[in-house]
């Protein structure tokens, strides 16, 4: 049998490798071939590791032949966003300041994937340090949407979304600070989940905004995401914020969810003016299709809609200004030294030379928001509003089990053209609330706009209810085939 990763689910692929119908080596070779065919144009990967991937696949094939079980993801190729640390493989965060950096350790999610038998194929492009929603701010290459190569793939996990959408890998990891898994998933026509804050260890994820960052995954179907999430989630002694609130056995709890008993909320008010008419129409249609499949559909409250992006960006930039102070030209970054300017000059010239425009802008604004005299006005006030947002959302999620809203207000925009920062920040209006409140959320394909671009539907549930999200998404994907559509060729 000839392996074809472009049409195969993770579960199907893992089953066929375990059954000996295809080998892990053949599967990795098929992915590498696909990457060589399409990635020169699409630009999803920053680094591909053919030698390491083929060596790992060979070992898995030997283990399978000798009757040992190499794990639930045996032989499954996985791509990783390039802000996730990989021992021996470069990790750049798409920034010049980390060019050439090779981590001496694996992130916990990478270690868990390897222990489950997954094969790390390479590292994918992103907005520099995950600061963006288009993948335009990568210092290294442009990533294009496979549905229309003149459009952005979204971001910041744009490379991971493209790698899955174009069939280069069946599944990829990303990180989601304000929508960076869900938004590119929606714009590229794949499924993406951001788990509850703390459900997955962030050890080895290069920190952008620690109270918002969460590793998530992108794949073709909800069940694929469930399988991968069950492997990477759980408490980790190396991340004190992991496992907060506890997490159950995802695959077992998923099976126990009865979709017919779910109470679904939606927010028709958001569809009146805030989104493109085509997207509003697809969301209304999806809710109507689900109405007879669930216990109830009610109108939900969507709190502080006009303020969410301001609150989010104050907090994200404040935390970024602190987190990125570690990039100083001393321990593991590029260095720019100017004679007679001493250590402070080294810091300043290194950061000024190697950070891109958007990263510098966010560090400056975050520093301002945290500085003496401004702290209460910006960071303090945003953190208090954040409490109100979380309280309101958690209260709403006692009344309904899932809230359905759009993932994005528009489909993928053109790559070329002027980018107004405030306008760009406001386009995250539907995704940031889940990060502010720490809630699990996912995006699933729900149709196409008149211009042929994919549209995503966002599902949000209460803390640690990934089982509800994935069950409803799985049910939706049994009712529809949007998730099976593929861009050609």
């Amino acid at each position: 049998m000839s392996p074809d990763p472009t049409i195969r689910s993770v579960q199907e692929l893992a089953g066929q490798i375990r059954a000996g119908q295809v080998s892990a080596t053949e599967t990795v070779q098929a992915c590498l071939k696909r990457i060589s065919q399409v990635d020169p144009e699409l630009g999803a990967f920053l680094h591909v590791d053919p030698q390491g991937a083929l060596e790992t696949a060979g070992k898995i094939d030997e283990e399978l032949k000798s009757g040992r079980s190499p794990g639930p993801l045996a032989g499954v190729p996985v791509a990783l966003k390039d802000n996730i640390s990989t021992s021996g493989i470069p990790t750049t965060c798409a920034s010049r300041i980390l060019e050439g950096y090779v981590p001496p350790f694996d992130a916990t999610v990478v270690r868990r994937l390897k222990e489950a038998g997954a094969v790390i194929l390479g590292k994918t492009n992103l907005d520099e340090f995950a600061m963006g929603n288009s993948t335009r701010s990568s210092a290294f290459r442009v990533t294009k949407n496979p549905w229309n190569t003149s459009r952005i793939p979204g971001g910041s996990s744009g490379g991971s979304a493209v790698a899955v959408s174009a069939g280069m890998v069946p599944v990829a990891l990303g990180s989601d600070t304000g929508g960076s898994v869900r938004q590119p998933a929606a714009l590229c026509g794949v499924s993406g989940i951001k788990p509850t804050w703390g459900a997955v260890s962030r050890y080895g994820l290069v920190a952008y905004s620690s109270s918002l960052d969460q590793i998530g995954c992108l794949g073709t179907s909800a069940m694929d995401l469930a399988l991968v999430l069950s492997v990477i989630s759980g408490p980790d002694p190396l991340d004190a914020t992991s496992g907060v609130g506890g997490s159950s056995d995802l695959l077992n709890s998923l099976a126990a969810v009865d979709v017919k008993k779910l109470r679904v909320g939606w927010v028709p008010e958001l569809l009146e003016s805030a989104v493109e008419p085509g997207i509003a129409s697809l969301l209304r249609s999806a809710v109507e299709q689900l109405r007879s499949e669930v216990a109830s559909v009610a109108v939900s409250n969507w709190p502080f809609a006009d303020y969410l992006t301001s609150v989010y960006y104050i907090i994200a930039m404040s935390e970024a200004s602190s987190n990125l102070s570690r990039f100083d030209g001393v321990r593991y970054t590029q260095r720019c030294e100017v004679a007679n300017e001493g250590l402070n000059g080294l810091y300043t010239h290194t950061r000024g030379t190697f950070f891109g425009d958007e990263v510098r802008r966010r560090i400056l604004l975050g520093t301002h928001s945290l500085s003496s005299g401004y702290f209460q006005q910006y960071y303090g006030q945003a953190s208090r509003v954040r409490r109100l947002v979380q309280n309101a959302l958690i209260e709403e999620l006692k009344r309904v089990d899932v809230i359905i809203i759009p993932t994005t207000a528009s489909t993928a925009e053109p790559i070329d053209g002027h980018v107004d920062p405030v306008k760009s920040y406001c386009s995250d209006q539907f995704t940031v609330a889940a990060n502010l409140a720490g809630l699990p959320a996912m995006s699933v394909p729900c149709g196409f706009s008149v211009d042929g671009m994919p549209v995503g539907m966002q599902l949000i549930a209460g803390p640690h209810r990934e089982d509800i999200l994935l069950s409803l998404a799985n049910h939706w994907q049994k009712m529809t085939d949007w998730h099976q559509r593929r861009p050609g060729p």
Partner: protein, 98 residues
């Protein structure tokens, strides 16, 4: 709403970033940052009296602290492998005391 004030020189110093090279660049940077600060100040409209700030979504529960036991950290050679300058034992930086 009054235009947000920014002391760019002090801000760049705090952020360890170089100040703009020219008056033109300074003007452009200042105006861009002020536009975003106006966007930030939308949050002023929310009444947050007696509201406690939320600094992370959930607080760690019991059992998140491990026992105080020695564990092996990075080997010295691994820790220094990515350093721009080292003597095999330390990270090297420009002379601080002269």
């Amino acid at each position: 709403m009054a235009e947000p004030s920014i002391d760019l020189k002090s801000l760049c110093n705090l952020a360890r970033l170089p100040p703009p090279d020219s008056m033109g660049e300074e003007q452009e940077l200042r105006s861009g940052l002020q536009q975003i600060l106006v966007f930030f100040r939308m949050v002023d409209a929310i009444d947050t009296e007696n509201v406690e700030p939320l600094v992370q979504p959930f607080q760690p529960g019991a059992g998140t602290e491990r026992d105080d036991i020695h564990v092996q950290g990075l080997a010295r050679a691994d820790a220094l492998a990515n350093a721009p300058d080292s003597d095999g034992h330390h990270f090297l930086v420009p002379q601080v005391l002269k």
